[in-house]
Point group: C2
Chain length 228, copies 2
DNA sequence: ATTCATATTTATCGATCGTTAAAAACGATA
DNA sequence: TATCGTTTTTAACGATCGATAAATATGAAT
């Protein structure tokens, strides 16, 4: 008690190095993985730290050891998931321009659906939280979701130069993104309406058919147009 | 005290008549109105009985006097809102067939947007809760939302007989509904992306332009086709 | 004025929420 | 083995949730 242990002077000790052990990264990863799953099943305000703790098989206060708040954790998950999509999206355009509109669009959608099948949570997280941010206290990563949308449009315009007006291109890409995100992020709903199973081949085929059906006419027009 | 008042026989008293006073209906209406607003601002599990009580300027337990559970109240709100939309939707088709695809679609969308401006909460409630019902405990009125979607498709096919395959018509109507509900139910999101104000004339014009741009080509095809 | 069913308020229940503090377990260094 | 920083667990906080029970207010019929 009292104080004055030894010299009293140094005091700094080992605070200059974080000493991040390997276990630290492992647990952090486990939490992020579990959080991605929970945030893909429940909208932000319905998902809970305790659910995530249970999914990660750790006690929930440990989450606050690695992430200061629930909002910060959500933003990290959102950042990863949208970044992953962004990178993949760029690759889907490779070698498309030579194929023409029909085959090009078809191949793009095939690649897109492949990704969606392997990473369904990305779409769920976006659709679950895209709508909720109105009137209510804004959702933590809201800006990221909007940026994500804007970036996919930008990628498209870079990869496939079209000859239409800016508004035409904007309408086309926004429609494609809206339909795609809805059909994949709310697949239970749409599959239910169509009398199909959400993850089935049949439903995926319908999504592809439907996207091509709606997008192709205008895409042809913008591609084949007066050239440029 | 004791008992045996007069004959003792009747006992039933006034239980055969509910005696619903006028005030009862008034309060019930006030609760439904407030609930419609709150459920248009927050998804089901985020909205609370206490919010609704505050919006209706009553103490929240009174809500449980008129509605057994939060779920029952939500279902009632959903029923009213979708019914209102359903009835309006039928009227929007009046006199369209004579106009041809361009003018007909334009007028339909005008009527549709008029309704959306006057009843924005319908779209909010649907979009807010359409996605959330996956993995999670189902949302109370989920079936109603799906039925609502199916009914609008049915109305369309009744009003505008098309000459395409069943799948083509299904893809077209589903796309229209999906785009429309998203643009109006998540207007803050989409307007934000486009750099517009959610309720502005400019944004509404964009929605109309965009719907026509995407729907018209296939509509023309299905209308003008091999007739019959 | 009294009675009594209806309508509304007050108080409270058990459950869950995000977060914090303190205790305990762990693991490498001395 | 003892020490000490890091990681994990345990316990608890104040707040909010939907729902219930009991107390009170209201208002028409006797």
């Amino acid at each position: 008690m009292m104080s004055s242990p030894k010299t009293e002077a140094p005091r700094k000790r080992a605070s200059f190095q974080k000493k991040e052990g390997p276990q630290k990264q492992l647990t952090r990863e486990k939490i992020l993985e579990a959080a991605t799953q929970v945030f893909a099943d429940y909208p932000y305000y319905t998902a809970s730290i305790r659910m995530i703790g249970k999914a990660a098989k750790i006690d929930h206060p440990l989450i606050n050891y690695y992430f200061p708040t629930k909002a910060a954790l959500f933003e990290e998950v959102l950042k990863r998931v949208t970044e992953q999509y962004y990178v993949a999206n760029i690759s889907w355009f490779e070698g498309l321009r030579e194929l023409g509109p029909e085959k090009g669009l078809s191949l793009y959608i095939d690649r897109f659906l492949d990704f969606a099948l392997q990473h369904p949570r990305a779409f769920r997280i976006i659709t679950l939280n895209l709508v909720s941010a109105e009137e209510t206290e804004i959702i933590p990563g809201y800006q990221q979701i909007q940026d994500f949308f804007a970036r996919t449009t930008h990628t498209f315009r870079q990869a496939i130069p079209l000859s239409g007006s800016k508004q035409d291109i904007e309408m086309l890409t926004t429609s494609f993104n809206t339909l795609a995100i809805n059909y994949l992020g709310a697949s239970t709903y749409y599959a239910g309406i169509l009398g199909m199973e959400p993850g089935s081949r049949q439903y995926m085929q319908w999504v592809k058919d439907s996207l091509i059906y709606m997008i192709l006419p205008r895409l042809k027009q913008l591609l084949g147009g007066t050239a440029q």
